[in-house]
């Protein structure tokens, strides 16, 4: 306001001088006064222009963060949802795989135990010399059968346990995916904080939010490929890996 008053005062003084000069027929002096008035106006204009430029710059910096936020909302969040859905699928599959094996192995173990018990009872009869020679002959046949069966049953239990062992790989795969989503959540949090700063007009100079975005052009570990999310340039199974390696002369 003080500036304005001064400007006005100066203008009024200049106007009076201008009139005086014109009345006196001093055109040269009048033009000089006009130039001075224009100069004062110009400097105000520059100040205003400077302010506008500053505002434009600030809102552009704000826009920078906004575009990353838009990116997060449009791409990364749905992507993370897909990844988490995949985690649900993988853990469900692993649980079913384990339960299936347990359901298959339990009856086998029970049968093995029951057969063993029958044979033990017969064997004890034999040891106590309570067994007829006919019964002994049938015990021998039962024993042969048991040895054959037990070997098959034990190997099917062994296979089942190996399958259960391998089914636990879900923890590694889902762990990597969840860690990646945690990273994304942290980025969203950071962006929200800077968004609050921008809207609060207290933004720190320089937009650093965009720099956290991953650089894709460099080979880096990205974790397990998620079907439907990671589609480009990803092998889908071990055969693809073998084909690729053999094409490289491996």
């Amino acid at each position: 306001m003080t500036d304005n008053n001064q400007n006005k005062l100066i203008s009024l003084a200049h106007a009076k001088e201008l009139v005086a000069s014109l009345e006196a027929g001093d055109n040269e002096q009048a033009e000089l006064i006009l130039d001075q008035m224009a100069l004062a106006r110009d400097s105000d204009l520059f100040k205003e222009l400077g302010k506008l430029t500053r505002e434009l710059h600030d809102s552009l910096s704000g826009m920078h963060a906004d575009s990353r936020i838009a990116d997060l909302a449009e791409k990364d969040i749905p992507d993370a949802k897909e990844r988490l859905n995949y985690v649900v699928t993988v853990t469900e599959q692993a649980a079913h795989k384990t339960l299936n094996v347990v359901e298959e192995c339990l009856p086998v173990a029970e049968k093995l135990q029951a057969n063993g018990k029958t044979l033990r009872d017969s064997w004890q009869k034999f040891r106590k010399k309570e067994m007829s020679s006919d019964d002994f002959r049938s015990l021998c046949l039962e024993l042969d059968e048991f040895f054959d069966e037990a070997s098959d049953q034990m190997s099917s239990i062994h296979k089942g346990l190996s399958d259960v062992l391998l089914a636990q790989d879900y923890q590694d795969i889902t762990g990597q995916i969840i860690r990646r989503v945690i990273g994304l959540v942290q980025e969203v949090e950071g962006n929200l904080v800077s968004l609050v700063r921008i809207t609060g007009q207290r933004m720190v100079a320089g937009g650093d939010t965009a720099e956290t975005k991953e650089e894709d052009d460099k080979i880096k570990a990205v974790g397990p490929a998620v079907p439907g999310v990671d589609t480009s340039d990803v092998v889908s199974n071990q055969d693809d890996v073998d084909d690729l390696l053999s094409s490289l002369g491996f």
Partner: protein
């Protein structure tokens, strides 16, 4: 045969260890990333390295490169067992001198086959 298994997930280390034991390998040590693994390899008498790719600290690919750059370790067979499935990555591992590459999730048969192939080649 002394084997070092490197993975940041202890569950995966246990799985690989058990599978290797099933294949008749009993002398197995573990490390949770390349940084821990490298001095173990340099100071130990390991014959075979099985490593993951994506690990904090030092990744498996960097560990592989460090092994190939080490005069004492450079001929050690290295099998990569990883969820990293990008073609660029497989090519990079091949160029860095990996002896086998298994993508997770894998089967016991795949692991067995790759290990047998590696030792067959080495003779």
């Amino acid at each position: 045969m002394k084997i070092l298994v490197v993975d940041d997930f202890s569950t995966m280390r246990r799985i690989i260890k058990n599978l290797l034991r099933d294949l008749g390998f009993t002398n197995i040590s573990e490390a949770d990333d390349g940084q821990t693994a490298l001095p173990m390899l340099q100071n130990g008498d390991f014959d075979f390295l099985v490593t993951d790719w994506n690990m904090p600290g030092m990744t498996g690919i960097d560990l592989l490169k460090a092994v190939r750059a080490d005069a004492k370790l450079q001929t050690m067979p290295v099998l990569m067992v990883t969820a990293e499935a990008k073609k660029d990555q497989i090519v990079e591992a091949a160029q860095a001198g990996v002896n086998g590459y298994v993508v997770k999730p894998f089967t016991a048969e795949t692991l067995k086959e790759k290990i047998e192939k590696i030792f067959e080649r080495i003779g």
